[in-house]
């Protein structure tokens, strides 16, 4: 197992109390596994991604542990985490357009970045060029400023930089949401290629777009209001979802290969509960068409089929 997250709770400190953005999530990621993390805004997917690499000033660890390759990560200790960042856990940020220093040529920026992490540029320069070529970038980008590159090129450059030290875990947070469909495809495929080449051991691919996750992920984890709703192989989530939320979410997605004419899809009425003071029991209860008395108790995450986890009394 590369990553083992056990009952992780991360809350945001606000003036009105603590927002329970991530409220007890347990899962594992195996070697060479791409985990797609899906859900609506505010479900805790970005919080989870951030918690694994760097908690910002408002985030508080309120319980749970994270183990990477058998070693416990001190995720609530900013200074101690530095040893793992970039070497073991790396991140591709959402806005790669603004991730690079605009006043430095890209090559120099990488050199400074590596030196700050105690790595000599000369040791990895050859590999850097090889990987740039692999994502179809001319190594000449190293002599250019970020502003001279297109959005897709910047995104690919950042991908190469992020994975240069072969991290064990890579977190890709909504990296394709600002890109056009054809660029999106190229970036997603390049990312899957990184795993094939062994540049990264495992990956968490955070996105709100389930159809995109389905293209490259091995397993998909669907979150709802700070909790895990369902986790299974990508095919099972898309074809045989068990949690009512996943089912409704999948059935609300329009597709290109279908003729709709007057057929209508439907959304999910209502909105997720406030996480300042979330209700007891199943958090999807108020919007769920199948809800019954028992849903006032919190449903445990159960394994309904090998590798298929559902948190629902009716799952």
């Amino acid at each position: 197992m590369t990553l083992r997250v056990n009952d992780l709770k991360v809350y945001y400190k606000t003036l009105r109390g603590e927002v329970k953005a991530l409220d007890g999530v347990t899962f594992e990621i195996g070697d060479a596994e791409i985990l797609g993390l899906a859900g609506e805004s505010g479900c805790g997917k970005s919080t989870l991604g951030k918690a694994l690499i760097r908690m910002d000033g408002r985030m508080r660890l309120r319980g749970g542990t994270v183990e990477l390759d058998g070693e416990r990560l001190p995720i609530d200790d900013d200074a101690k985490m530095n040893r793992y960042r970039y070497h073991e856990v790396s991140l591709i940020p959402q806005y790669s357009m603004s991730a690079m220093n605009p006043t430095r040529r890209i090559g120099r920026m990488i050199r400074e970045l590596l030196e700050s992490r105690g790595v000599r540029y000369a040791d990895v320069a050859e590999e850097l060029v090889r990987r740039l070529r692999l994502v179809e970038l001319d190594p000449d980008v190293l002599n250019r400023y970020p502003i001279e590159l297109s959005g897709g090129m910047k995104q690919r450059t950042v991908m190469v930089i992020s994975t240069l030290l072969n991290p064990s875990l890579l977190i890709a947070d909504e990296i394709t949401s600002a890109l056009d469909v054809s660029t999106q495809k190229a970036v997603a495929k390049a990312l899957a290629g990184f795993r094939e080449h062994g540049f990264v051991k495992s990956m968490i691919f955070v996105t709100h777009d389930i159809s995109l996750t389905y293209q490259i992920a091995d397993t998909i984890m669907v979150m709802y209001a700070g909790k895990l709703a369902e986790k299974a192989s990508a095919a099972a989530i898309v074809n045989k979802p068990r949690h009512p939320y996943t089912q409704l979410l999948i059935s609300s997605l329009p597709e290109v290969g279908v003729r709709y004419a007057d057929k209508r899809l439907s959304g999910i009425p209502g909105s997720p509960p406030s996480l300042l003071d979330p209700p007891a029991g199943c958090r999807f209860r108020d919007r769920c068409p199948l809800a019954f008395a028992k849903c006032a108790e919190e449903p445990p995450v159960t394994e309904v089929a090998p590798g298929h986890y559902v948190a629902c009394w009716k799952g």
């Binding site: 609506e40 805004s41 959005g151 056009d180 469909v181 054809s182 660029t183 999106q184 495809k185 997603a188 495929k189 709100h208 777009d209 389930i210 159809s211 995109l212 389905y214 293209q215 898309v238 074809n239 409704l248 979410l249 999948i250 609300s252 997605l253 329009p254 597709e255 290109v256 290969g257 279908v258 003729r259 709709y260 209508r264 899809l265 439907s266 959304g267 999910i268 909105s271």
Partner: protein, 318 residues
């Protein structure tokens, strides 16, 4: 009928506007009442520029846009308001369309002050209630609230309700669902379908082909400011002929099919089109009834043209 006829938009770029950049080139299509037309393209394809020209936010450089036969340029100064009674727009980011200092329903009150100062209070309240009902918003849940207290879907629907308070006939919906979550996105799309049933013409601008496929009767695919393919949605999506439209469709992530290994078939593009088009004559060739593909030289040499021929043969055989 809202009609665009050979519309071109050039921007001056550079320090003194010395060089020009053509954002939209020679685009013609029409939106009929009760019809949703989707305008699909990637960033920089000029789709929002077209929306802005229709909304008279920027002038047209060449060609004309007409509303029921009247050039929209004629709706100047005092008549401008008259135009906006009929044509309104809703944009991408509902969160930044509201002034956070004021309550969200201020956008509705502003319509009354601007357009209907003589309408009585009771009658106005009725109209507001009717408009909110048609966008399926509960008046109690949105009136008197501040923008931050409402969800993106509610804010977006409130903006559509605002447009409905005027007797609009055409709505320009520019990426209105891209900031919304999947579970609420479909409700806003269904709302557009309801409006269509009421006889409203909608120009649905999007980069998401799946949404265009879901909602629209007609599709216009843009690339670098030019129409590469357009026609009935079913025909364009089932049988895309222009290499660019094909590549775009092949890139869309689908739920039940993974991207196949066959990389970017036909991505090399069409030599004829990259080299420019014949200066005169029809740029779009009609390959089947109601299905147009950009093609300057119809016979041979052009991937779009030859594929079009093949597609025709297939459909005849059926």
């Amino acid at each position: 009928m809202l009609r665009l006829d050979r519309v071109t938009k050039r921007y001056g770029v550079g320090a003194f506007g010395g060089t020009t950049f053509t954002a939209v080139r020679d685009v013609s299509f029409a939106v009929a009442p009760g019809e949703v037309v989707s305008l699909i393209g990637e960033s920089g394809s000029g789709k929002s520029t077209i929306g802005k020209m229709i909304l008279k936010l920027i002038p047209v450089s060449e060609g004309s846009i007409t509303l029921d036969g009247t050039d929209i340029g004629a709706f100047a100064r005092r008549r401008r308001k008259e135009y906006y009674r009929h044509v309104q727009g809703v944009f991408q980011d509902p969160f930044s369309c509201y002034n956070p200092v004021f309550k969200a329903d201020r956008v509705l009150r502003m319509i009354k002050e601007e357009y209907f100062p003589r309408v009585g209070r009771a009658e106005w309240d009725e109209r507001v209630a009717a408009a909110l009902e048609s966008v399926r918003l509960d008046p109690g849940a949105v009136l008197g609230r501040y923008p931050h207290q409402l969800s993106g879907g509610q804010l977006q629907r409130l903006l559509v309700a605002r447009a409905l308070l005027l007797d609009i006939r055409y709505l320009v919906a520019d990426e209105i669902t891209s900031m919304l979550d999947a579970s609420t996105r479909i409700d806003v799309l269904n709302l557009l379908a309801d409006l269509r049933a009421r006889g409203l013409g909608v120009l649905f601008i999007t980069h998401d082909l799946a949404l265009g496929n879901y909602i629209s009767a007609k599709t216009v695919v843009l690339r670098r400011g030019e129409v590469v393919e357009m026609g009935e949605t079913g025909k364009v999506f089932a049988n895309p002929l222009h290499p660019y439209a094909r590549r775009l469709l092949a890139s869309v992530p689908q739920l039940h099919a993974r991207w196949d290994g066959d990389e970017d078939a036909g991505a090399a593009g069409c030599a004829l089109h990259d080299g420019g088009h014949a200066a005169e004559g029809e740029r779009l060739a009609e390959v089947e009834p109601g299905h147009f593909v950009a093609c300057a030289g119809a016979e041979g040499g052009c991937a779009a043209a030859t594929d079009g021929g093949r597609a025709k043969a297939v459909s005849h055989r059926r």
